[in-house]
Every structure is written in C-alpha cells, then in structure tokens.
Amino acid sequence: MIKVTHVTKTYDDGKVRVEALRGINVEIKNGEFTAIVGPSGSGKTTLLNIIGGLDTPTEGNVIIGETNIAHLSENQLIDFRLNHIGFVFQSYNLIPVLTAKENVEFLMLLQNKSEAERDERTTKLLKAVGLEDQINKKPNEMSGGQQQRVAVARALASKPDFILADEPTANLDSASTANLLDIMYRLNQEENMTFVFSTHDQRVIDRAKRVITIEDGKILSDEIR
C-alpha cells in the first residue's frame, strides 16, 4: 500500500518559485494497475519521483507499507529503493556495457543474492518478458521494445513491492507498446504486481484499471475502472 498525504513540492531557486505539487492525497493499494496522467508540467513525474523516493516532498508524508519515506535519509532511501521499488524509465536506462542477463541480475548483486538464486530469477524473468533467447545481447544490439522489456525484468529482479514506470512507452512503436503492456498486465494479473505509470499515452491509459489525472499539481480526477 502506498499512502500519499498532503504532499506539496515547491522548487525555489531564489528567483523563480514553482509549486509542482499542491496538497496531493492518494492511496494506491497492492495489485493496482494505475496510470497517473496529465499534460506536460502537470506534476505527474514529480509525484512519481516522490513516491519512488527519488525526490523528497516539501511537506506531507509518503508511507509505503509501514515506512514513511519522507523522513528517510539519502542513504536509507537508496536502500529502500533497492529493496522495495522497481523502476522503469522512459529511455530504458540499461547499463550499456552489460548484457541483458547482467543488467537483470545487477540489482540482485547489489542485494547480495547468491549466484544460484540470481541465475534462476534472471532466467525466469527474461522468459517472462519473452527475451530468453536474447540473454547475452547488449542493449545496443536490441530494439527499443526489447530494451524496455529488459528494463521491466530488471525492475522485477529485486522483488519490489511495486513498480514505478515513467512514460515507459514514450519511445516505443505501437507493436512494442502493445507487447510491453501485455507483459506488464500479465505480471499484474498473475503475480499481483502493483504498477504505477506516469503517462500521456492513450494506449496505456486505455489498459489502466485506475486513472489519476493531475493538473497544475493537483489531482483533477481519480477514476477506478
């Protein structure tokens, strides 16, 4: 369960003051397939960053499970992200010098998992995203869609509580988008994995079970389908 209460975020560089979030309250339950939507500059990425512990709120609390991450130190946040949150980024952000397999097992290495456990989970995850025959390829040898599927497998590798995906289909063609959404939807259905997207891609919005619309840093609507 993710519980965001009275969260505000203000950027102030001394000259310009921007209120990116203005008192956000939202709860996301386990197993949800939620899209946060809104126009550019609406605050959806800021909200996602705050939920993911990449940024801290100016005010308010972000409670994940039983931990209020708004009060964690920088190092505690890094550890928390490693063990509780999976990330999928818009531009894949795989480690270019590592193969698909090495990229997926990277987080498990940071978690000091045994080699046997890493091998087993990496194989399983790459199979789940349909890349079992691409394990030794490096990112530059794969298509954008394949790279994003590796990124999903990587996000799942650390056994997170939920996955945050920031515009995951923005750089993908229709076929790759459909394929990626199928995979994520299946993981959500079969393994009860929670997915939270920020997106303005209608194809993602159409598949979401809940759509939270943000504008000017405020929740405009919260639609459960």
Binding site: I78, D79, L82, N83, F87, V97, R154
Partner: protein
Amino acid sequence: MIVKIAFKNIWRNKLRSWVVITAIALGIFGGLAVISTATGLSKMRQNNAIRTYVSHLQLHDSAYLKYGRLDDTINQQADIITYLEKSKKVKGISPRLKVESFIQSAGGTSGVILNGIDPEKERQVTDLAEQCIAGNFLERYKQKPPIIISQKLATKLNARVKTTIQCSFTNNMGVPITGIFKVVDIFSTSNSMYDELNAFVRLEDLQNLTSIQGSHEIAVVLHEEKEVEQFREELISKFPNQHIASWRGIAPDLGYADKMMDLVMTLFLIIIMLALAFGIVNTMLMAVLERKKELGMLISVGMNKRKVFWMIIWESIFLALIAGPLGIFSTYLAVNFFGRVGIDLSFAAQGLRSIGLESTLFPILDDKYYVIISILVIITAILSCIYPALKALKLNPAETLRTA
C-alpha cells in the same frame, strides 16, 4: 560486478582510453628514460673519475695537503701498506710521488704534475695502462727514464713516442733539478683537463731525482664501492695522523652530482605523477559528466554512493594498471638494451671529454625505481580520480533523469 562494470566502462570510448593510456605510458617511459640517462651520465663520470685519478680512497700526510712541501711524505707508509695489503676489502693500492714540474720539448712547454708511480701497482687502481696507445706502461725502456704524457700534452709539446723531453723542478732543498725523459707512450683518458695536467714516470726515477724516499699519496681501490666510507673510518681509527679521504671528499663535485641526481629524479617523478594525475582527472571527469544520466539511474535503482564512488575509482585504477606496466616494461626493455649496447654520443665526444665523460652512454635505472613508479602510479590514479568520483556522488538522481 562493480569491478567488472568499471573495467568495461573504460572501453566504451576505446580511442579516448587508448590516448590516455598511451599518454600515461609515454610519460612514464619519458620520465624514466631521462632518469636512467642522467644516472648513466652521473655514474659514468663518477666511475671515470674513480678509475682514472681519484680511486676510492687517498691517503696523504696532513702537512702535505696543507703546505704542499715535497718532503711531507707519508710517514707511516710501510705500516699502512702492510695493513692495506692484508685487508680483504682492498683490491689494489698505488703509492705515488707527486712533483710540480715544468715540462719542455723542442716543440713547446707546459706545466704538469709529474706522478712517480709503480706501474704494476698503478695497474691495480687505475685503467691508465689501458689508455696508452702503444701498450708500454713505463715497462720497456733503454737508457733514458721513461715518461708517459697525454695526447693533449703531446700535441701541445709537439711530442710523440721516442721524443726526448725535459722536466724541471726543485727538490726539497729548493735546488733546481732537471730530468731528461723519453716518451714511451701516450695516453688519453675521458678527462681532457686531467690529461693536460698530468704526466707519469717511474717512482724510483722520481725518487732518485728528488732525493725523496716514500710517497705523497697512496691510492686505494676496494672490491666494493659501498664499503668505502666504512673502510675509511677503519683506516682513520688505525692511522689517525694521516689525512684519509674518500672519493666523495676528494672530488666533492662527484658526490654533489649524486645528491643532485637524487633531487632531479624526485622532481622528475613528481612531474611524471602530475602529468598522470591531470590525464586521469581529465578523462574521469569527462567520463562522469558524459554518464550523468546513467550514474543517476544507478543511484535511482539502489546502487549506493559508496559503490558508485568505487566504480569510478576502479575505472581509474584500470587505466593506470594498463598504462603503468606498458610504460614501465617499455622502459625496462630500452634501459636493458641500451645498457648493453650503449647510446652513441660520438657527435659530441669532444665536449663530453672536457667534462670527464665518454662518448658512449650506458643508461642505468635502479630496480627500486620500477617499484616506486608502480606504487606511485596506483596511488596517483586513486588520488586523481577522487575529485571526479566526488562529483558523481553529488548527482541528484531525479534531476539527472529529468535533465540529462
């Protein structure tokens, strides 16, 4: 995994990495080459001086050094020679009688120091016999006493082998004496100034002419150069009335050159390490700035900053670990090769001779410098990438993902 990623990271931009590696290797090679050449020159000058005229140790009567009087000969000569001949450390000794003289031939005149020597004993302490062109080191002569002069002096006097020359000096009573000698050989050392000022005759001939028995100087050469100072102390305690000096005391410029060389080498090492440090700082800073987004991603997904820091340190260590051995090994090969065959500097032979050097230079590099350089390269690599690594630690993951 961190080490593996670090190693792979340095090959992302192969050209840049190789340029840096080559620059570091060349820097190390250049620095060590200069050090080895300078050491070779210094050692050559030192060895030449020791082999030609200084020897490891020289013993004099203290009064002789103070007043330069002919009759201030070494007063314990027999005891000293017996002691030296019994010592296992001593390779050779040569007593010398030295007289300032005016030398004259039909072709010219000059002032020289006449050195009365025992040819057999002198062979044990100097290589003067090997510098004689006719191979007659005062050993073969007929009626007139033999003399050896240098090529430079021979040119000045317009003399050659078999030329009769006259030496004028005063004995210990101040009575003018003239000796007639026949040139039996001509020598040429690597020190033209020494050549011009010295001529050699047999010890007994000079003793007969001056009516002085004994000698003014005993030159000593040891088997091991490193034992010189210790043996000097031993002699001083045994013969406290004698003035006993090591080559460092006799020719302090040689000792200064040694110390100067240490200073120069330290400076060169600092320059090499600074060049290495700037190369690494520049490369690693570029590598960090180019990968801001990726480093931000690594921190985002849970790689703690300690690991990010070490990943960058390892990248730098790998650059140094590749470049260091390349530079050191190429230096080792070059120093070994030229240490055997020498570097031909005959185009500057005359100039080199005037400062006591030969025209073939043999570079020397003490093994310790390979070890020191290896350790310094690693330390410098680590130190110089701390700044880029700290720069990486300051990255804000959310910001780098948003803006990069």
